[in-house]
Symmetry: C4
Subunit: 204 residues, 4 copies
């Protein structure tokens, strides 16, 4: 089995790079290129800053929960590593999805709706990726402190409910793109204050 | 509680990526695109190089102090992790703010002032983020070598004074953008030679 | 000799950054730049998404195998470090090659064929780089659990066959670029389910 | 004092990101943007590929030597950390300098000469940064296995000669840019095969 340390090191690297690349999408155009004054550009950029903060904390929360989860894993097998790659594949897409929202939200119309739907889809992918890691970990002998049998469905429910919210976000995006983006922000705020204890060791 | 190691690893990753992305803003346009000769472009780029050096050392200092701080932390709790995310959120904005200064300082006028004010605001955010981590650490039993009660206000003063300087920078930016940028450079030079001993362990 | 830890840390860093940069090539143009609607752009981008997923898992697999390999290495000498640099040099090229495929595949014609050939060539380079690390490790006393003498040619065959497939991909690219890209995807799927046990320790 | 582990982790992060960003400069323009066929663009890009390989191995060598150096350091003090930041500041500039060479070398003329001179200056900065770390380490009680007094000037000579070569490269750039670039490549090849034993522990 792979040692946990290197799984964490690689994942932390991907989380750290992805979270830092988020800010690339905020870049303004240089002067004299017909994009108006800097003040004007920064004003136009507000959806970019909102999306940046939401994405930053969403990735940050996933990172915090990922740590809690991995610290309780006993066996770091090959299947887990590939499920982890699936999770990371969606984490890596977040800067792209955030940049698309930043570019298209203020533009309005169908394009803004598609942009937020793509954003919701990316967060849904992260959610499903992380949920599948949880599902795997429920197997016999894979956690130091296993989730008690009678709490498994609760643990699943918590994860599934996150995925369901993002699914709803995709739908709402086509009614109101800003509202759908606001819901992803509310989810982030919720998870900052509400932890998911089931996956972590009691003393964690 | 989270182990310190992974908090450091993730933070180091973000610091390392952010500090390396600083140089992306220095890129010159290719030949034959109507931007003049390379020599001309490099001359026009001087504010970019100045901003690059200031940002590089400002992030470098924060990294050094972050290390000293974390090495003295006994309990790495969830609140600390989220305060750390707030700090990192502003660290990640530094390449964006630096690039904006690089593009607009030589341009002059109101845009140059806004650019330096945004830069000052980003550094202010880092300062407040780090200060809130200090404030948290002053709580009972959170540091290996706690700051003595009678030195706490001194420690707070040191941090607050940094934040106040950056607040002043934002104001001065609207009088003279180059002067305001120069002050951020002076702060960096000051911190290279003056350490903040209060937060570190005596043998650190 | 260098300690394994830092070889891994540096390699993991490069793998993590390269895998995250893959998504940079997916960026769409902003609204009002004459590139059509967002929906239209995303549709045009499908080769980019396909190439992204293939590259993500190809680098992911190399990373998993790299870990298994390094964990069995006893002596981390200077030659191995430079062979590792050769491997990483091609890993770092993957985002460039992926972006080129993303841009040119839908375009069709000779350019699409060249793009996929460059992509195949980059994967071939990774394969040869990793194969040369294996070859080096077959030397006396370099692995904790050495590959038995009678299985060495089998181990070589496994690695060589990967390289041969990528060589074939380069050739097929000039007959059918999409088919050639599909083969690289099939190779990734194959390696997700089929591990290369020879290089790892039995308990790995 | 700072623990060596985190100095290494941060430095490795910067090395890893900088070495991966090198490939960003290789990106070709998309089809239909008036830049000609992909084949034509790749042909035009040859200086970019040459510069990429030279820079990759130059950073790789510095990384290998940095490891050997740090593993022999007993006290990781604040001055060393800032000298290390100076070194990293130039490492981070390498992708910028490499991209400039890639863009301007084939263009020829004075711009090509300036580009290679900037490249040489960046490598000179790395060399001086690393040399100053060596100079610092020669102080009493700073290395596990100190450089014997009678070999110090030899150690200094080795480092100084590297800096002198890059100084010469800057001069030659104005006579022949390709020749000057070729010399930096020769230096990289030389250092791959010739190690600098003085700084490392005997068993390293």
């Amino acid at each position: 089995m792979m040692d946990r340390g290197r799984l964490e090191a690689f994942s932390d690297g991907v989380f750290a790079v992805a979270i830092t690349l988020l800010a690339l999408g905020l870049a303004v155009a240089g002067p004299g290129l017909g994009h108006g004054t800097l003040t004007h550009q920064l004003e136009q950029h507000w959806p970019g800053f909102v999306a940046y903060v939401i994405s930053f904390f969403t990735i940050g929360i996933i990172w915090v929960n990922h740590h809690a989860f991995v610290s309780n894993i006993k066996v770091t097998s090959r299947p887990l590593m590939f499920l982890n790659l699936v999770l990371l594949m969606f984490v890596v897409l977040v800067p792209f999805a955030t940049g698309t929202v930043a570019d298209y939200l203020a533009h309005g119309g169908f394009d803004a709706q598609v942009a937020v739907a793509v954003y919701g889809g990316t967060l849904l992918g992260m959610s499903v990726g992380f949920g599948s890691m949880l599902e795997w970990s429920l197997g016999e002998g894979r956690m130091y402190v296993p989730v008690p049998r009678d709490q498994r469905w609760l643990a699943r429910l918590r994860f599934t409910s996150g995925a369901v919210v993002y699914l709803v976000v995709i739908g709402i995006a086509f009614l109101s793109a800003p509202l759908a983006l606001g819901i992803t922000g509310a989810v982030a705020v919720y998870y900052v204050f509400e932890r998911t204890p089931a996956i972590a060791k009691p003393d964690d």
